[in-house]
Symmetry: C2
Subunit: 407 residues, 2 copies
């Protein structure tokens, strides 16, 4: 762990720089707003800067003065999805570090806040190490952000609650369509995000109350996919319910470890994660050709990370809170840390914050634990509801059904 | 036009039967609730029945007693998307008509309400004619319903306003993601519904305020698609804005009249409308291979017709109103008619209802008029905003941007 070498914390004034990184979310701006508002209150902080497109903006010295924004913008920005400063998916190269430090030094940046996920933690960690080596006094704090909810050492990640709420609502609503006219397209596949972790796929079950409710089958990245078993499972549900609503993560792998959507592969991103498309399309074709059942798919795509009209208020509040606490930790002298959310014990849900070492977050993934996946591997357990329901904010709507008393 | 032969209107008591047909919407139940609540008030109406899965329920005598539902259900059903009675896409065969009449006669149904689109109007029209031929006194009234907004003789269709609101919000929000990290996937394709008409595609522009806002290009079924022109248009926007958000209707046709998604064809439905998939996927591949730009697509699918969390209150109110007025028209003796919405002149938006002959609605489609498509054929005109903005209910949220004053 990096401790500040030269200056005792909380005494010297300096400037703060904040950046946003990775896939944006519907509440990532709430963390920005929380940090800015808190920074304005802190006497140790002089100027408040923003880096355009995260670390890329630091390298290119594309830095903006956030004190020159109008005072009213922050309330509106709280409700605006996506990364207002612009985001990036840039993997820091060793050669980049001196240049990044040069920008920080030239602007007297002493507090660097980075809102992002595991890759962003990696970037921030290396920056913290480089500053330490250069004896440049810098507090580096990450603010967790990812709809994937796959960061270790935090109860959950800001951004997940809103995406989870969207997916729960989308599954409930879209399934209502299939239910109303089951013989038209008896099989529906809903493809959701989640690079390697099934947290979002699991969230599709949050509106499910009875076994016959959708989703009937969930396919998680944590479980290997078998085509025969899949087709059998579809038939079983079809026979029992009359239609089948399937939720599938975009990157499920077969028993040979091959991603199902590989035929739609579009290369890899800067972190060498393969970019896939077409998992739902492949399942649709499998059901059509092997079972002769008409199937189609919904793919909400970026909407699931962005939908401002399905935000979890709890998630937005926590995103703000994490931003606020990052500033407090920074001015107290912490560095090379990520803010974590710690669920308080007790019946009523609430969270405090704590800190975790960036080295323990960087490039690490927390998958959906076995305790949250049911025995069949195609659904969630009651423990998952206990975990996730508080995160999605106000209760989901209850869709009613008629009794349908026959004449 | 069929006029009642035997009994003067408004005098004899009889039973009412209501059914839902075609693709469900987020507010189709509001029409059901409006009709039921109004029917309960009408002394000429004895029992209130529902047909399960529309005309199929009539043929199979799957009829339920709606007076036996709990009184509280109707308030909740108003907020529940999809067709609570079940829907159908069944084309009435000539042999079916005597059987349908037999069900109606055996239940003393004298008022038949059918909530649906053009195909449903066709069904209802034939039923009205058959009743007339059989000298069976029956009022047949259709309640318009379609997200496609393609029924003639009505200002607009209940169901459209909510789907339009969803698509406007989805385009605004999803585009925010592309804007935050344009170089990651600079081209985004959003595929929306609309069998032959571009009303839903057009709705994607309702949140657009400036030329550089998304959507940058809309491809309508009303315009023939040319691959070369498309690629040029993508390049132009990419050069000017740095990223491109495209909205495409699911069934656009090339200059030979071939649907773009034809390779994903899945047969035809009962009305011989081809079922297509894959338009967005094809555009993505075109952009990837011909331009070397990374593209991906969102396909909200059934969510755009079902999203209970993006309902237009105006739309829901009008769906209720149309159901209510259908009952009033029926008990006043009208038949073989569809309820229409008539926009009142004046600055403040409001609608009255009127009636149109089912024969003029059946199997007829109102396409997006030229006056609503801009000269380039890839956007909408100010007249479209005047038409559509009042239909989507409360104002869309305003997503703010930082001024970004450089340091």
């Amino acid at each position: 762990m990096y401790s500040r070498a030269i200056t005792p914390s909380g005494q010297r004034k300096g400037n703060l720089l904040i950046g946003q990184s990775g896939g944006a979310t519907a509440v990532i701006n709430a963390s920005l707003v929380g940090a800015v508002i808190e920074a304005e209150r802190q006497q140790q902080i002089n100027d408040i800067y923003g880096a355009l497109h995260g670390i890329e903006g630091v390298l290119k010295r594309q830095i903006v003065d956030l004190r020159r924004e109008s005072a009213e913008i922050w309330d509106d920005l709280l409700l605006t999805p996506s990364a207002a400063l612009g985001s990036c998916r840039y993997k820091l190269q060793p050669d980049d570090l001196p240049r990044a430090l040069e920008t920080l030094r030239s602007l007297d940046v002493r507090y660097f806040l980075y809102i992002g996920g595991n890759d962003s933690a990696d970037t921030a960690h290396h920056l913290a190490l480089a500053a330490q080596e250069a004896s440049y006094d810098l507090s580096v704090i990450c603010i967790p952000k990812t709809i994937d909810n796959d960061l270790p050492l935090t109860d959950h990640c800001p951004g997940y609650g809103s995406a989870a709420r969207f997916i729960a609502l989308a599954t409930m609503d879209s399934a209502m369509n299939t239910m109303s006219i089951p013989h038209h397209f008896p099989v529906k596949i809903i493809e959701v995000m989640g690079r390697d972790a099934g947290w979002l796929a699991a969230a599709s079950a949050l509106g499910k109350e009875r076994p016959e409710d959708a989703p009937h089958l969930i396919y998680f990245p944590e479980r290997r996919f078998n085509r025969e078993r899949f087709l059998n499972e579809i038939c079983e549900v079809y026979d029992a319910v009359g239609y089948v609503v399937v939720v599938v993560a975009e990157t499920i792998r077969d028993e040979q470890g091959q991603p199902l959507g590989a035929s739609g592969a579009q290369g890899a991103d800067a972190f060498a994660h393969p970019l896939l498309s077409g998992t739902a399309q492949q399942l649709v074709e499998l059901v059509n050709t092997k079972l002769g059942l008409r199937a189609r798919f919904d793919k909400p795509g970026d909407l699931q990370r962005m939908a401002s009209f399905a935000v979890s208020i709890t998630d937005r509040d926590e995103a703000y809170f994490a931003g606020q606490m990052a500033v407090r930790y920074a001015v107290r002298g912490a560095s090379d840390k990520m803010v974590t959310l710690v669920r308080r014990p007790g019946k009523e849900y609430s969270c405090a914050t704590s800190q975790a070492d960036l080295s323990a977050i960087a490039n690490s993934q927390r998958l959906l634990p076995d305790a949250f996946i049911n025995e069949a591997g195609t659904g969630v357990t009651p423990a998952f509801y206990d975990y996730a329901l508080p995160l999605i904010g106000e209760p989901l709507p209850r869709h009613v059904r008629l009794k349908k008393v026959r004449v």
